[in-house]
């Protein structure tokens, strides 16, 4: 580590954090410098968020020293951290849905006199802040009415509303589309220009290479190395992070593309659902991966929900050429559709239950007879799927909520593989997942396709869509703009469809 003591604003030495018997952070070192973006890189569960929560005063460190401007620093509350010039944008959305944007941004710091809130000043101040940051949000809107991406922007505004010298951003782009991410990158640029230090966490390598000045890699709660961006490469970073070499993020397809003579398993014609999406038609063949690209809010998730019986629709859905009426998810599952939803914590997992319960939950019929669960069969099938997907866990009795994000995602996948779906819908399957786990998920998707599963993969990450799909469907503003074979598409062409410029 190069010693440039003058501009080091924050430095961590031998920081350790345990939760009872669980060691989340073993030994962490970090030097953060003024006017630079310092990225923390590590697999899911490496301890990045935990470290940031220590800095933000949400949790105390178990051991170790933190020096802020050379003086020991151990914030006991988020307010104390804020007072010392630390601002944080949390990974998990920490907003109150029932309150307005302004009320959330200035939560617990409302302009008041003798405890009486001035609503006028509150809105003014929030509006000023949002305008300065250049965010397209109405501060009077209720957070619960906003889309996930907009909520993420509110979270960012909330974090940046403190006048801080160190700004921590924990996966701020995980649910942003490129347009919104660009706004954020501009904000980060302005912060560093003003001499502030930024600690940045993300799993998107392209973005890391573009933004960072320094990069610190963590593995299993321990410090691995700190590198200057200019001295390293994506491949080198990945190798440090996962502890092995990885040549290709997108594994090659296994076997041949299904030919035009193969009959589609799923055909969708003129599907509409109010204003959620309009006149969507497409089809998927067995063994094919159909990518669904679009900016956040394009309406892709709602199309998928309709296909899964979670949303009313007009139009026709055919499976194996026969028209079906998908009234509810159980109907969809009966017809062989599986759906990995975009929000694994809310719609995917029962966090307080074991992996076994989660893996078998959509296919209980297969592990029971006469309504009675077969313990043995259940355990066996759950083990099978868990091993097949390489879920990293001590046992299938582990509680799902204690797994890292990538592993949780694999559990959701395992749940759907148990149903032996013919059509598998994946909505943002790698959101918030580290590169190593991403690769494994891609490998699984390839494997499934090779076995003849028709796959619909919704994603907002262009490289992922282009790297994996046989064909790509592009949606913009609730309409399907184009469907084309991967070979006919360039990133520029896809983006022009997605932004609605190319008709």
């Amino acid at each position: 580590m190069t010693e440039t003591p003058d501009d080091i604003v924050l430095s961590l030495r031998d920081v350790k954090k345990t939760f009872g018997p669980i060691v989340a952070i073993k030994q962490m070192q970090l030097d953060v410098r003024r006017g630079r973006v310092h990225t923390l890189l590590g697999e899911n569960g490496a301890g990045k968020s935990t470290l940031m929560k220590i800095l933000a005063g949400v949790q105390p460190a178990t051991e170790g020293t933190i020096l802020l401007d050379g003086t020991p620093f151990a914030p006991k509350s988020p307010q104390e951290a804020a007072k010392h010039g630390l601002a944080i944008v949390f990974q998990e959305l920490s907003l109150v849905n029932t309150l307005t944007v302004a009320e959330n941004i200035l939560a617990n710091r409302e302009p008041n006199r003798f405890g009486f809130i001035s609503d006028r000043k509150l809105i003014e101040r929030a509006e000023t802040l949002v305008r300065e940051l250049g965010l397209p949000i109405d501060v009077r809107a209720r957070v619960g009415d906003l889309s996930i991406a907009q909520r993420q922007l509110v979270e960012i505004a909330k974090g940046l509303s403190h006048d801080a010298q160190i700004v921590i951003l924990d996966e701020p782009t995980s649910s942003l589309s490129d347009a919104e991410a660009e706004i954020l990158f501009k904000i980060i640029g302005r912060l560093t220009e003003a001499g502030k230090a930024v600690i940045y966490i993300s799993h998107r390598m392209e973005e890391i290479m573009r933004l960072s000045d320094d990069i610190t890699v963590m593995r299993d709660g321990a410090y691995v190395a700190t590198l200057e961006k200019n001295e390293t490469s994506i491949d080198a970073l990945i190798a440090l992070m996962v502890g092995r070499q990885m040549n290709e993020i997108y594994p090659p397809r296994i076997g041949e593309e299904p030919g035009d003579d193969v009959a589609p398993v799923l055909e969708v014609e003129h599907l509409s659902s109010g204003r959620a999406f309009v006149d969507v038609s497409f089809s998927v063949r067995p063994g094919e991966i159909l990518g669904f690209f679009g900016l956040v809010g394009a309406g892709r998730s709602d199309v998928m929900k309709a296909l899964f019986g979670m949303r009313w629709y007009e139009g026709t859905i055919r499976l194996d050429g026969k028209e079906v009426d998908l009234k509810d998810p159980s109907e969809a599952i009966r017809h062989g559709i599986g759906f990995v939803t975009e929000n694994r914590k809310e719609e995917g997992l029962v966090l307080a239950h074991s992996l076994r319960n989660n893996i078998t939950m959509a296919a209980l019929g297969g592990v029971s007879s006469g309504g009675f669960l077969s313990r043995h069969r259940e355990r066996q099938r759950a083990e099978e799927e868990s091993t097949r997907l390489g879920v990293r866990t001590a046992s299938i009795e582990t509680i799902a909520g204690t797994l890292s994000g990538g592993n949780q995602q694999k559990v959701v996948l395992a749940k759907w593989l148990m149903t032996r779906p013919r059509v598998l819908i994946l909505d943002e399957p790698t959101r918030g997942v580290d590169v190593g786990a991403k690769f494994e998920i891609y490998r699984i998707i390839r494997q499934l396709a090779a076995e003849g599963t028709a796959i619909i993969m919704v994603s907002s990450e262009l490289p992922e869509v282009l790297g994996m799909s046989s064909r790509v469907a592009i949606m913009s503003r609730k309409h399907l703009q184009a469907i084309a074979p991967r070979a006919d598409l360039t990133p520029e062409r896809v983006m022009s469809f997605a932004t609605g410029q190319n008709k």
Binding site: P78, V96, T98, L99, E103, F116
Partner: protein, 324 residues
């Protein structure tokens, strides 16, 4: 998810929001009043309306306290027992000859302390408030009977009994107290940082913690408010009855909860308002009074009361859903 809590300065907007926000439940109240007036014209007389307000005072005030607790996502089932203890504390202190003001003070303090006990057990021992307050409901109910061995205690203090019996500019003192407490609670909830913290904590505990709100302290304070409100209810009830009854306030907690929920306070926390609770309490009061006026037999009253609660909540849920 679908309810709104909007803070606007513009009075017209406020009125509009109110109609939008309380439309369903407000409508239910109006419909109820119209039906009762048609059936018995005396229902709408000034005397009877004051009657209703007086009768509903005890529930309404307890419901104000309950609204805070529910907004935080908690519940307080000990309210009915606190009402009884408060009356008994007042009666005993007066019985000692210490006079009105000490009796009043000690009664309020006893309510606050009982609330603080609920709050500390919930916040510090991390027990669910439902079970904590089921337990303290039993404990407080047992305690109330200790001084008199279960007998009611007469209250002879003229100031104490005046609260329930006298009027001020033609309006019973009890009604002034309800109005005063409503305004105080409403302002504290909707205009101050403390109220905002309550919404934040009830809406998302994690988020509140991250924003530096001392969630534990909020819990304790809010159970103290509930205890305080219940003890005021207890004072009113005992002054209306000229005595402290050991079975006073029995199952009033359910009426208080019903008033708050009728008024749109969500049991999962984070949404609700004092205005809603007041309307909810008025519905319950108008219902009881109106059915007595119509000589509806007791058992049918129970049935009708249940049906009206269902209808009102359904109207409310429906009107809120339509907006989205």
């Amino acid at each position: 998810m679908t309810e709104t809590t909007v803070y606007k300065a513009d009075p017209m907007a406020t009125l509009k929001t109110m109609m939008r926000q309380y439309g369903g439940i407000f409508l239910a109240l109006v419909v109820l009043c119209v039906i009762f007036s048609l059936a018995n014209p005396r229902f709408m007389s000034v005397a009877n309306l004051m009657n209703i307000l007086q009768q509903v005072a005890v529930i309404a005030i307890a419901a104000f306290g309950m609204t805070w607790v529910i907004l935080l996502g908690e519940i307080d089932l000990s309210v009915g027992s606190i009402i009884a203890v408060a009356g008994m504390v007042g009666a005993q202190v007066i019985g000692l000859g210490w006079g009105f003001v000490p009796a009043l003070m000690l009664t309020l303090v006893s309510g606050i302390l009982m609330g603080a006990l609920n709050g500390v057990l919930t916040a510090k021992l991390l027990l669910p408030s439902f079970i904590v307050t089921v337990a303290t409901m039993s404990i407080f109910r047992g305690m109330v009977s200790l001084p008199t061995n279960g007998a009611p205690a007469m209250i002879m203090d003229p100031t104490w009994t005046a609260i329930g019996a006298k009027s001020f500019i033609g309006v019973p003192i009890i009604i002034w107290i309800v109005i005063g407490l409503f305004i105080a609670n409403h302002i504290l909830l909707s205009k101050t940082t403390f109220g905002r913290k309550t919404y934040l904590t009830g809406g998302n505990r994690e988020a509140a913690l991250y924003s530096g709100i001392k969630v534990d302290r909020m819990k304790i304070l809010i159970f103290m408010i509930s205890g305080l409100m219940a003890s005021i209810s207890g004072i009113l009830l005992s002054s209306r009855l000229y005595s402290a009854q050991t079975n006073a306030g029995m199952s009033y907690e359910l009426d208080a909860i019903a008033a708050a929920v009728l008024g749109g306070t969500s049991l999962s926390g984070g949404t609700g308002s004092m205005i809603g609770t007041l309307i909810g309490a008025l519905i319950i009061g108008a219902l009881n009074n109106g059915m007595n006026m119509l000589s509806v037999p007791y058992f049918y009253q129970l049935i009708v009361k249940g049906l009206v609660i269902l209808l009102a909540v359904w109207l409310d849920v429906r009107s809120k859903r339509r907006k989205v």
